[in-house]
């Protein structure tokens, strides 16, 4: 379980290991959004929604397993 947890944690930081600097280009990207740090709020919102959906799916799965056991 501990190993799985560490593996999960590491998957989230894998991209920070890239050392190359971004090339400067005139194309407009959302640099301001990221520099002000508020993109984390968006990620937080999306994550809450998705984790909620996942928990919902797991609970449906669990309830089904119970039903299946009862009707065996």
């Amino acid at each position: 379980m501990k190993k799985i947890f560490i593996l999960c944690l590491l998957t989230f930081v894998v991209q920070w290991t890239f050392a190359q600097a971004p090339t400067a280009a005139p194309v407009e990207m959302a640099d301001l959004l990221r520099s002000s740090g508020k993109i984390y709020v968006v990620i937080g919102t999306i994550s809450v929604v998705f984790i909620g959906l996942a928990i919902y799916l797991f609970s449906i799965d669990k309830r089904l397993s119970k039903l299946e056991k009862e009707h065996k």
Binding site: C8, T11, F12, V14, Q15, F18, P22, T23, A25, V27, E28, M29, A30, I39, V42, I43, I46, S47, F50, I51, A54, L57, F58, I60, D61, K62, L64, L67, E68, H71
Partner: protein, 222 residues
């Protein structure tokens, strides 16, 4: 929840969460027109990958049903088509939204868009066919035969015909898939986990639907 048999469900959730997080935080190539919408690759394309995998399930289990006559195989086939169609519709909708802001119009009658829509109709017809037959065994057999023909038609519509003509969609007009200008290796490190994660979640929802269908049938029989 048994870790031994259900680990892939957790893996699917973790991979999608990773793609939600890294898909917004990771660095993307600086491209004109696309700007930050290049990140849609992590969320729009996996819908289609998952759909194709579920339609493969549909075709395989249809063939299995035809050789075995086992009702369980028909249940897997029908629910795979169901979840696959749902993911395909999500793919169409997200594609339309993306197209609106990069191609100028939500629906520009692009070959890829048109053939994807026809592909959806092919599988919609599968359910119309099933709905029109009352007898369970006949329904399973006829729709299984239909599936076997529908699958290659879907593959040709999605992956071959759009490549023969010019299309706005990447991976068409002769190019196989994304090229290095659209997607660099750092993006692939988010893209492939996203694809695998959504495939796993699609299969999971399909499994839940199959179990629901079978337990309902069991209760109704008693």
């Amino acid at each position: 929840m048994k870790i031994k048999s259900d680990w892939w469900k957790i893996l699917g959730v973790v991979l999608v969460l990773f793609s939600l997080f890294q898909g917004l935080m990771g660095r993307v190539p600086v491209l004109p027109i696309l700007h930050e919408t290049i990140r849609n690759i992590y969320y729009h394309v996996p819908m289609w990958f998952a759909m194709v995998v579920l339609f493969v399930f549909n075709a395989v289990y249809s063939i299995k049903y035809l050789s075995s006559g086992n009702e369980h195989h028909d249940n897997i086939a029908v629910e795979s088509a169901n979840v696959g169609l749902f993911l395909g519709i999500l793919g169409l909708l997200t594609g339309m939204l993306w197209a609106k802001f990069t191609w100028g119009e939500a629906w520009s009658n692009d070959p890829k868009q048109n053939s994807a829509a026809i592909g959806m109709l092919v599988y919609l017809a599968y359910f119309v066919l099933r709905g029109s037959l009352d007898e369970a065994q006949k329904r399973a057999k006829i729709s299984a035969v239909y599936s076997v023909f529908a699958f290659p038609v879907m593959i040709v519509l999605l992956f071959i015909l759009p490549r023969l003509t010019d299309s706005l969609h990447p991976g068409n007009g002769g190019n196989p898939g994304f090229n290095k200008y659209d997607m660099d290796n750092q993006m692939r490190m988010v893209f492939y986990p996203a694809v695998i994660g959504w495939i796993l979640i699609g299969v999971w929802v399909m499994q839940i639907r199959v179990r629901l269908l079978e337990i309902t049938n069991q209760i109704l029989e008693n």
